[in-house]
């Protein structure tokens, strides 16, 4: 028994050190290759970023308990954008990196809001840290070549009362669909802090 445990123990140790090294890597920058990931949706089904190779993808960091997210969901900001651009071939994935949340919380959120896009469980926080997601909402856009082309806020309106509101995600998607580069590739995101476990 003891002899078998030593190789298992060292395999576990290697796995643990490998994941620590992974977490210590700095987040992807705009212009870099978007890291692949595999997370479970609200039905427990695995979703991989690489399932959508060749498509434009929007990643939305979400948190059902956050007042900024709640305001946007009352106003259907993300749902409307997701459905408008779905017809243009854009994939929308919401991700919840809150350590206290999980599939059950995400499922309740999907049902409450009748969401047509998945809400993925990143309660371990791995993917959030790979992308540098700090707030909810925090938006990232990946182009058809798998490159990160936008990182930042959903818009420039944290309080919801800016008469000169610009929806940065819509602007970037329109530019990309027209074959142009994104004119505001990095913006300040706002929202509640992502609740990482560590």
């Amino acid at each position: 028994m003891k002899r078998q445990m030593i190789p298992i123990a060292s395999a576990v140790l290697m796995l643990v050190s490998f994941s620590i090294v992974q977490a210590a890597r700095s987040p992807v920058k705009v212009g870099g290759a978007a890291p692949d990931f595999e997370l479970k949706d609200a039905n427990g089904k695995s979703v991989k970023l690489s399932d959508f190779n060749g498509k434009m993808i929007v990643l939305e960091w979400t948190n059902p308990a956050c007042p900024f997210v709640q305001r946007h969901y009352r106003q259907r900001t993300m749902a409307n954008l997701a459905s408008e651009y779905k017809d243009k071939g854009v994939v929308w994935l919401a991700i919840n990196s809150g350590s206290d949340d999980g599939i059950a919380v995400n499922k309740a959120w999907v049902e409450k809001n009748h969401l047509a896009y998945p809400v993925l469980d990143d309660s371990k926080g791995t993917v959030g840290k790979e992308y540098g997601a700090k707030s909810t909402p925090h938006m990232f856009i990946i182009d058809r070549d798998g490159k990160l082309t936008y990182a930042g806020g959903i818009d420039n309106d944290p309080e919801g009362d800016n008469p000169h509101r610009v929806n940065y995600v819509k602007k970037a998607l329109d530019e990309l669909l027209a074959g142009q580069s994104v004119s505001t590739p990095v913006t300040k995101s706002y929202g509640c802090g992502v609740h990482y476990q560590d």
Binding site: S189, C192, V194, H195, Y196
Partner: protein, 283 residues
Amino acid sequence: MRHTRWLGTALLLAIASLSSAASPRSDLVKAELLADTASIKPGAPFTLGVLLHIEPGWHIYWTNPGDSGLATSVKFKLPPGLKAGPVQYPVPMRIELPGNVVNYGYERQVMLIATVTPAKSLTIGSQVTITAEVQWLCCKDVCLPGSAKSQFTVSIADEATPATQDLFRQWSAQVPAEGIGPDISQVKGGLEHGRDGSISILWAHMPRDVSLFPAASDALAVSAASVNNGDGRTDITFKLERLPGQEPNAKAYRIVIGYTTTDGQRRGFYRDFPIRSVATSLK
């Protein structure tokens, strides 16, 4: 084991739905409008202060909240003849959360202050009502927005009457000063190649908790900040860049350096960097 996990999930669901149903709580932060004078003398500037008491364990935010949050805002409603200057914010604390989420804000108590200039033409013996409207986002592990109104009525008189001056001195001293104060022997700073920023401080008395607090901006971003404390000195380096597609709304970008003196006083100073010398980030 399986039963416990199911119960935990149910409890989480209950908490999640409670949080989303909760209306903004105003009891986490209590606001008090104060003045450093009990009577207003025409032509004599005085100071207004909004003293905020924050529930222990929770925090509210500075003008740049950091990676998340929302700046605390104060709007003064003043009668004709009274004009308020910009609201001044004491040096904040650096609040570090898991996952390298960094915020700038306040815990327990903070007073936001503004100088008011009364017109010389105000009528002696008349009374004026001053109102402060405060809005905040108060966070612990959840975030709850809140607001409050506080007002008082005060007479116009021949002479001002000093009031709560110690409190105002205590908080004014925490508003970042321009350049050097008694704690600092020398400050040098600059921006190389349009993006490599540095601030070097020689201290008269070595403080603790030296931190960088960059101004809020849609057009500029600070990254890779490093604070290196040595023997009687602190060397700070950081990257400063202009974000493409954004128009700055000022000529200079302000960075506040906060520190705590050896006798526990929070202090700060600021350095301005001309925006025209900042390079735009690639991509």
